[in-house]
Symmetry: D2
Subunit: 142 residues, 4 copies
């Protein structure tokens, strides 16, 4: 599997930590990293000229089947964080991403997710051809 | 309009404040009161033998059109709060509730909401007969 | 009371609706408007060269005492919303804002909040001089 | 390391899925599982006669350093979920838990977390003696 750095394979977004996302400890609450990851990977999709909203409207839903996060250093209210996303693996039914959350170049957290493609009833189905097509020549190969 | 205290007209639930619901100030973040209100009014519906899930599955969606909250005293992590809900008014297309949030008898906040009944496309529609029927002899009259 | 349109009195931000912020009905869940309002008014503060984080670190906490929202039309996943904020009134201990949420020029919701200045123990205290000073010649007068 | 099933080592709570916790797909949004895990493990602590609020007030903060979740089957609005928590390992500075989320006996998700004990400045510190004492004869040994 080789991974190129083309559109849709690697992206970077900035997110400012909201007050409502902090907790009593004064930190960005750990559950919100999953929300940031989600925002980061859908933005990555947008780089390919696709939106997740369209995919879902066409009946191709991507459900999370696995996530892991390592928290190294806390993030605080009003911090501007960089979330780097990499498409690490794609199969006919599954998409894997890795993530890094940074503040001023310091790595605060890293994570990985696996998505599976399902239909509206929740049954596993192959990713649509137009999705795989769009990725061809750009995306990583197995 | 007379309001009786029968099932579906008045209810009370207990909610323990979650850590994730607090903010940097150490308080229950103010947006979460709306989530508590929602839980309180759907529990009220359950007292009538109805669930909001069923209503929605049958195509009767209740959307919020108005909310106001007065915050008098803060709530903290791990507090056990009482949320009292009263159905204050019902029309063929609208339902109004009022709320009180208390801790050990002290009033922390009060609020009011208006819901409108819409179909799946978001168009206003009358509340279903079986809903109004279920409420009859119990609910407030105009 | 006259309101000028200077920095700190009126502002506008863009927010893209996150997937996690939608609900089963497919809409931006109504509680999240309060989170957007909060982000909008802290951004307004930033226009004055102040951050809410600093204010809080110096012991001047702004707690919400009142909010009301009118929801006119729903917002959806991935929508880019404009949130317009106006400082409508300022007293020695209280700050009032109004808000408009728009999509492509269409008004989706409007709201208003009142903040009170408290110390770390939650007791009402006057807004700091440097805050009022910064606002002078810019802010609305009573 | 042997793990007994005593108080504080194993617990089970029920959580009803709130409307605000669902997403556009109609499912319990995946980030909320972390919030449920948090509620489950603080309830476990309560079985030992301790509350996390007290621990934090005494200056012993437990920060999440690692989480992983496997999502097997979706949860829906209004579902009553059972969250089973097990204390799987405890060291002088770290606490590990595993979790199972079930609906009517069906396993929907499982997860694991690692917490580290830090002081108010975020520096790693040993768990307090009274905490370890309370656990003695009950908790797992290394």
């Amino acid at each position: 599997m080789s991974v190129s750095e083309g559109p849709g394979n690697f992206g970077e977004i900035q997110i400012r930590v909201r007050y409502a996302e902090t907790d009593r400890m004064g930190l960005l609450h750990h559950a919100n990293y999953l929300v940031y990851f989600e925002q980061a990977r859908t933005d990555l999709l947008r780089d390919l000229g696709l939106t997740y909203r369209e995919m879902e409207d066409k009946g191709f839903l991507l459900v999370l089947t696995k996530v892991d996060v390592k928290y190294k250093s806390p993030a605080y209210y009003d911090d501007i964080l960089t979330v780097r996303t990499r498409l690490s693996r794609i199969t006919p039914i599954r998409i894997e991403h890795t993530y890094e959350v940074l503040r001023d170049g310091q790595l605060l957290a890293e994570g990985a997710t696996t998505l599976a493609c399902v239909d509206r009833s929740g049954k596993i189905q192959p990713l649509p051809d137009w999705f795989l097509e769009r990725r061809k020549n750009q995306g990583p190969k197995e």
